[in-house]
């Protein structure tokens, strides 16, 4: 029997690693277009129809990509340069319980928040204090979760944040989130829906009772583009772009710039006849470099306002009032937007949505001119609704009166009513006093309510958030409970789960249904959109299927495979597939004086288990880097990338 294989040749092969959120993302599109413009043949392989099984690197000549198409045919593409696109790494360093079903990576949590009815009460702990972690924390709080903790587990806080962090932190703290610095000690299940997270901080052991722990990172500073072996033309690009620009403008822009930068590098190495276009290429390279520099500006010059008690320090208040996005005169006579985005943020949502072009936030515009054109602003409120971080209020200052007007965007579940009193919050979420809801200007988005408040004039520059008073807590909880009940799905069907009858939502991916009934396993944690991780195998009506790719229906019989005994709250394996502990790896490195990650893999077999390192490779790289090995710039090219079921001919 022979297997039919199609051979092909390209200059540049872009290959999707498992678990990418969207394909092709902006960085890939930018890179491909640029390379094609310079005459290079580029192929993009990924998505539902073309599954990349792996790459065989041939450092002197490029490599071979092995791809399986939707009909099970195998394509063997040789290319002079190969780019592997990988998802960001979310796993924390190992601690007892880290691979239990209580810990979810952030992409899974985001999918569940959007598509499921699982409980996020009473509180959530998030490992990581990066932009994405804070954004998810804010969303959870706005949806009614009582408490969200963003936990920084590493001391290098600043090195892992990029521009936009200050506004995300502001939104998170205004919504009631808490930032803490601590190391996780253990994650224990105390009831079907509650986990106990033990943390070690400067005060000692701290215990949080949480519904789930979300691992968001970034756990270390990631260059985003790597070449390994050096000079081989074999690259790895980290996908930071979410499916839509609005979901994460910074990540989108970051990946775009990285794609542009990498394209120029590849074009220079593969194309020799670019005399006429050299200037254009150099210009693109410089632009990308400047763009990337803007992203790390926060690390160099963070804007972290100082407070005197609850009040912004006078020097920072002055700095804010002098900022070019903040109105200088017009707010004294009429309502006007105040763009309080102090950092150089690549997000340009407000600029794009402004119908009168009153806002210009592009980095080059920032340097040259004012961000806000006071004359053009009509106070339509579109930018207030559009800003994902809530950093644009509308203000009207009346210095000669006791009250002024402040308009904010409200994303909470329970809408405000005119005449209600709200607690005013400063930029850190601390209470400043109360204010009355003056009016509710119309909003274009059903999820966002514009709230115009009558605030004491002396609080106008400090108050940037609202919440309901404590006396209203019980009423709020009743509202949320009633809301959840009203929102509860009615289309439930009866299924058999491990022989027991259960009610689950109809036509829902089984992975999500397992989360909703509290029967999710550690294998369901990755919840990839295309089944590419291949870990969530279950028996559906006696045949083996992937839980994330199979939907529930009436009468379906589901049997989960026995949970791996090595995953529990008391064990702490770095690689639970092969039961390899962190201590064993460190011992091997020290005893054998190993100097390369390949040597560690060869000596420990780590990453050769069922998950192919999808769960453990991030922590392993950090551990090896701590041991002095060059793991941060290393790419694991082992073949195949996930277990590959070879088709019959």
């Amino acid at each position: 029997m022979s297997l039919s294989i199609r051979d092909g040749k390209l200059d540049v092969l872009v290959a999707a690693a498992p678990r990418l959120e969207n394909w092709p993302s902006i960085g890939i599109r930018t890179l491909s277009v640029m390379c094609a413009e310079f005459g290079l043949n580029v192929g993009q392989f990924g998505g539902d129809h073309l599954k990349v099984r792996g790459v065989i690197p041939l450092p002197k000549t490029g490599g071979i990509g092995v791809i399986e198409d939707i009909q099970g045919r195998i394509h063997r593409i040789s290319a002079r340069s190969i780019i592997r696109v990988v998802p960001p790494e979310f796993s924390p360093n190992p601690f007892p319980g880290w691979q239990t079903s209580g810990l979810l990576p952030i992409p899974t949590a985001e999918i569940l928040l959007k598509n499921s009815r699982i409980s996020w009460e009473p509180s959530i702990a998030i490992f990581g204090t990066g932009n994405r972690a804070l954004r998810l924390g804010s969303q959870l709080l706005e949806r009614g979760t009582q408490e969200v903790f963003c936990i920084e587990t590493s001391s290098q806080w600043n090195a892992k944040r990029y521009s936009g962090w200050e506004v995300e932190r502001r939104r998170f703290e205004i919504a009631g989130g808490k930032l803490i610095e601590a190391k996780p000690v253990q994650l224990l299940r105390v009831s079907p829906l509650i986990w106990q997270l033990r943390l070690q901080d400067s005060q000692g052991i701290r215990i949080l009772e949480v519904a789930r722990v979300i691992s968001a990172g970034p756990m270390q500073d990631d260059p985003g583009v790597k070449e390994y072996p050096p000079g081989a033309g074999l690259y790895e690009l980290t996908q930071t772009a979410r499916p839509t620009y609005a979901e994460d403008a910074e990540g989108w822009s970051l990946e775009e710039q990285r794609g542009r930068w990498l394209a120029t590098k590849i074009i220079r190495s593969l194309t020799h006849d670019i005399h006429t276009q050299r200037e254009e290429l150099d210009q693109t390279f410089r632009t990308a470099k400047v763009g990337l520099k803007y992203h790390s500006r926060h690390q160099v010059e963070p804007f972290l306002p100082t407070y005197e008690g609850k009040w912004l320090s006078s020097s920072d208040t002055k700095k804010i009032k002098e900022f070019s996005g903040v109105p200088k005169q017009a707010q004294l006579s009429r309502r006007i937007a105040s763009v309080e985005c102090f950092e150089d943020i690549p997000c340009r949502i407000c600029e794009k949505i402004c119908p009168t072009s009153a806002i210009q936030v592009h980095p080059t515009a920032r340097a040259k001119s004012s961000i806000l054109d006071e004359e053009k602003c009509t106070a339509c409120g579109l930018c207030v609704q559009a800003c994902p971080s809530g950093s644009i209020p509308m203000i009207q200052e009346a210095p000669d009166r006791s009250t002024s007007s402040l308009t904010l965007a409200w994303r909470g579940v329970k809408p405000w009513k005119v005449g209600e009193f709200a607690t005013l919050l400063n930029r850190r979420g601390e209470s400043l006093g109360t204010a009355r809801i003056q009016s509710l200007p119309s909003s274009d988005s059903p999820a966002i309510q514009l709230v115009q408040l009558e605030v004491p004039t002396h609080l106008l520059w400090d108050a940037r958030g609202i919440r309901r008073g404590r006396s209203q807590n019980a009423e709020d909880q009743n509202f949320l409970a009633a809301f959840a009940k009203a929102d509860a799905p009615t289309d439930k069907v009866e299924i058999l789960l491990n022989g027991e009858k259960r009610l689950v939502r109809d036509k829902t991916p089984i992975s999500i249904a397992l989360f909703e009934v509290g029967q999710n396993r550690p294998e369901d944690a990755l919840l990839c959109s295309d089944g590419s991780c291949g870990l969530c195998t279950i028996l559906v009506d006696s045949s083996k299927k992937l839980a994330c790719q199979t939907k529930t229906h009436l009468g379906i019989s589901i049997k989960t495979l026995p949970a791996s005994p090595q995953i529990s709250s008391s064990t702490c394996f770095l690689c639970s597939c092969l039961e390899i502990s962190e201590e064993k790896v460190v011992d091997r490195v020290r005893q054998g004086k190993l100097r390369s990650p390949e040597a560690v893999l060869s000596m420990t077999q780590i990453g050769e288990g069922k998950c192919h390192g999808q769960l453990c490779m991030g922590p392993l790289k950090r551990i090896l880097t701590e041991q002095g090995l060059p793991a941060s710039s290393w790419i694991d090219w082992r073949f195949p990338w996930t277990d590959w079921v070879l088709p019959h001919n």
Partner: protein, 405 residues
Amino acid sequence: MANECDYVLFGTGLAPLVAAKHFLLQGKSVILLNPDLDFFLEDSELPLDPLLHGKINAQRILENTIERAMEVIRPVYPGSIELWSSPNEKEGYYDPSAPHLRQRGRLWISSFSNPHADWSWEQLEDLYVEASDAHLKPQILEGLPAIRRFPGVAANTDHFRGLFIPKLCDIEIARYRSGILEFIRERLPPDQLLCDVSQVEVVENGIRYHAQGAWKSVQPKESFLVFWTPRMTQWLTQQSKKLNFKLPRPKGIRVWEQWSLNSREQPAPATVGLFENMVVWADFDGLPRFSSSKWAHESPETSRLAVLRAGPLLAEGESDSQGSEQGWVSQDSLGALNHLCYDFLKWSQFSIRSLRAKAIFEWDARDGESLTEINPKFKIVRRCDGPLVQILRSVRSACEERKGD
């Protein structure tokens, strides 16, 4: 001023380590240079002799028996070596981190009409006679007795026959290498065991190289030995042009693919099977562990089948060029895997866990000794890749030849 030492050894992988140990035990001074970051990046060593190519006779099989292999492996290794020969053998002192030398039978399987085999049934019958004469106790098996011994077979069929020779061996290379490296590290100061060495040049008074951020030179009193593995070819080619000497030419570079498959069946651990141009064995680290679970293949390390497949023989030089692309994961290799798993082992489905691609020199048997003398102080040691036992023999013979000088 150049340092002096008796031997300068230059190479990757296991061979230079073995030579270093040999010379250290002779009381000689040694400097060991490795262009790689460490000694584990070399992947051209095999745990067993595949017995697929070249002249397969009783003599070659005898060299792979556990007794003969131990004669070579034991004196070189500085620690304990664990022997394993059957699933029930577990008594006595056991060092789980030691390299395991496994004693397994070798089973050549042939269908009654097998056009793809590299060897015919007549050849196997000749081998049977030779092996019997050499008291290797071979057995001719037909039908079910043959097929049942083959690792990973899921369904019985009587269309096959086989030649079974007991008590051949295979060894865990990474552990073996690690043990020797630890021994060397304890005896050589850090400035005499250098990794990540670059720009090594043969100059008038010795060897010049760049390591640890500085240029250094060393003058070997006895000789400069280069251990030729495929990773060293580029350097040797450059030197042959520069110093105007003729490099011995191998027959070519054989492409080997070592696949690891997830097996629904628990493969028989005590036999290594040969089917067409593939060598098949139960893959495990240390001792085999077995599970009674229905989902045995889901539990750690229980049911993995290693398949070592011989790919094409590429002309030397071709492996560095686009030509080598033809070798890896080709239509032939995936077709052969399909044929093995679906047609022969009768699996309904299988998944590939990993692939290690190796390139190994093949030398003509008439090439003679493994040592090539370029000048009295510059020698090249060949056959430093391939089966571990063969590497040890080559290195030992090269080192002993030096001693005789």
